[in-house]
């Protein structure tokens, strides 16, 4: 199943903050920042279990992250990915001349992926080196 016409926001969560201090290479970090948080009603349309890996796609890239349901809703039409390496595959690098990228507000769509693996931070960023 897939969802279209979403808006992606990114930002801090306390778990992501704890995980980044605890070790960016850790599985804890993947569970804290390699996730996408959905509005409860939106998530029903995806027709999958909580925790299923989903592929999030914007004009700037795509990444597979674990799906969860928000505690900060309702926010129909909005998905939230904590700041970090997974979110940064998707954000708009353009700053419209001011220097600060547009980390929030990208149009996004989401697909449930059959065999999606959420990879760790070091491996994910490491792919940028080989490319």
């Amino acid at each position: 199943m897939s969802l279209d016409n979403l808006i992606l926001l990114t930002g801090r969560t306390i778990s992501q903050g704890v995980a980044l201090e605890g070790g960016k290479a850790s599985r804890e970090n993947v569970r804290a920042a390699g996730i996408c948080t959905f509005d409860a009603d939106d998530f029903k349309k995806l027709d999958c279990l909580v925790g299923t890996p989903v592929k999030v796609i914007t004009d700037y890239g795509e990444v597979v992250v674990y799906s969860t349901i928000t505690e900060e809703g309702p926010h129909q039409g909005i998905i939230f990915i904590p700041m970090g390496p997974w979110a940064n595959q998707l954000v708009n690098p353009s700053s419209q001349g001011c220097g600060t990228p547009t980390y929030k507000g990208m149009k996004a769509k989401v697909e449930v992926v059959k065999s999606g693996k959420v990879i760790g931070a070091i491996e994910l960023i490491g792919r940028l080196k080989e490319a």
């Binding site: 990114t10 306390i14 960016k24 939230f80 690098p93 600060t100 960023i125």
Partner: protein, 441 residues
């Protein structure tokens, strides 16, 4: 046998811009390990514990040889790093937000010697706030004023429950103040956000604004404040009657404050969102007392802006290429420079652009020699050509840090730097000396 413990009190926490100064750290005297943290939030506490040696803490300098990091001596590592910097045509020095002010000052010195580009993390964070302040000024205050006086607190595009966990209990919400003796009950908390965040859930009023449409909402508020009747029924998803009600609430309060964050600076319009928020606060002073404070993310990014400004005249995104400092965010911002592939070597200090920069810019960062001054394994240091292991400021070395409201606080040393780690300041001093030698000074 009871282990002997050394307790350090009144410790300033080196995580976020709230810079809590009331932490207590217990260190085992024999092992020099942090064993307990009191008063810190989850994140600050974790930072202290993660300073203990582990498999992701660097103890010795490392140089990448045949794709693997090899342990080397400090002399060898400094020599290699200096070589990279001296041979680069357009090096970038970036980061500086998670270290103390003297180290930041050394960073400026090194950039000047190299005619390099110099930038700090404000570039991807509150840089737009600084741009707005340069255009329209700002009515600021210290957190103590808010604690003691504020009866109306607006969090706009900011979620302190998650990003500044003790802010509400120390300064802006639950705490009793001199004129707010009933604490939470004496305060009116308003949150403006596209999501009903955990901060919104404990507020008195939550205004749901459409993502990326904050500017229009603030313009509507300001125009109504001027006495205009508007032609529209709703702005940015907020009904016009709710906006009018908000205007009356703000006009009639005793002492108001706007705390704002990435919701304004990282959305479309960036510094113009902050520009109009600043103008709104200024215009509210026709009716009552109103101020604003940016919710700075890192514990000493404000210090980096201060130190860079004292030394160069500019707070971030600085270019020394023509022999004197020039300032132009956009043109000299790290992300934009990397996207245009205009940098051929980078020195990253006390920050993690590998994790926090958009992927396309990290791709270009990795194309060129990379030096990382960093205590831990991160998506930046893991791919560096030279790793210079740093002692953690605020834990293993002293220094000064600037809180989000511009108040300087002293960082304490609670234990010694482990392994062969050196302070950021000392590492930069050694680099400066080596670079000068190679440049023939």
């Amino acid at each position: 046998m009871v282990e002997k413990i050394r307790t350090v009190k009144d410790v300033s926490c080196p995580f976020c811009g709230t810079l809590c100064d009331d932490l207590e750290i217990d260190v085992n005297i024999k092992t020099d390990l942090v064993v307990e943290v009191r008063n810190g939030c989850q994140i600050g506490t974790k930072k202290y514990f993660s300073s203990n040696p582990s498999d992701h803490r660097y103890m010795k300098p490392l140089i990448k040889v045949n794709g693997e990091h090899k342990e080397v001596s400090w002399d060898e590592a400094i020599d290699k790093a200096a070589d990279i910097l001296v041979n680069a045509q357009r090096p970038l020095l970036y980061g500086f937000s998670s270290t103390e002010c003297e180290a930041q000052s050394k960073g400026v010195e090194l950039a000047e010697i190299l005619n390099a580009l110099l930038d700090n993390t404000a570039s991807v964070c509150h840089g737009p706030s600084i741009l707005a302040i340069q255009d329209v000024g700002a009515s600021l205050a210290t957190l103590g004023e808010i604690k003691n006086r504020a009866d109306t607190i607006i969090f706009w595009g900011s979620n302190p429950v998650h990003a500044h966990p003790r802010h509400l209990s120390r300064y802006s919400d639950f705490i009793r103040g001199y004129f707010r003796t009933d604490g939470r009950n004496d305060r009116n908390i308003i949150v403006v956000d596209p999501r009903n965040t955990h901060t919104a859930q404990i507020a008195d009023k939550y205004i749901k604004v459409n993502p990326s449409e904050d500017y229009e909402l603030i313009q509507a508020i300001r125009a109504i404040l001027r006495g205009n009747e508007l032609d529209v029924k709703e702005v940015s998803g907020v009904p016009i009657d709710d906006i009018k009600e908000l205007v009356e609430e703000l006009k009639s309060c005793n002492f108001g404050v706007v705390f704002f964050g990435m919701g304004l600076t990282q959305s479309l319009a960036h510094h113009r969102n902050v520009d109009t928020a600043i103008r709104l606060v200024a215009e509210l002073n026709d009716y009552t007392k109103f101020l604003l404070i940016p919710m700075r993310g890192h514990y000493n990014v404000a210090g980096a802006n201060q130190v860079f400004t004292w030394n160069t005249g500019y707070p971030y995104s600085i270019d020394f290429s023509r022999g004197f400092p020039r300032y132009n965010p956009g043109e000299f911002s790290s992300v934009e420079l990397l996207l245009r592939d205009e940098v051929d070597a980078a020195l990253i200090v006390a920050s993690d652009p590998g994790s926090n920069f958009p992927a396309a810019s990290v791709k270009n960062l990795f194309k060129h020699p990379l030096i990382s001054i960093e205590p831990h394994k991160t998506p930046t240091s893991a791919f560096a050509d030279v790793i210079l292991p740093a002692a953690i400021a605020g834990i293993e070395c002293e220094g000064t840090a600037y809180r989000m409201d511009g108040v300087p606080l002293r960082l304490r040393k609670v234990k010694d730097p482990p392994g062969e780690t050196l302070s950021d300041k000392e590492i930069l001093e050694r680099l400066i000396e080596k670079v000068k030698e190679k440049m023939g000074e």
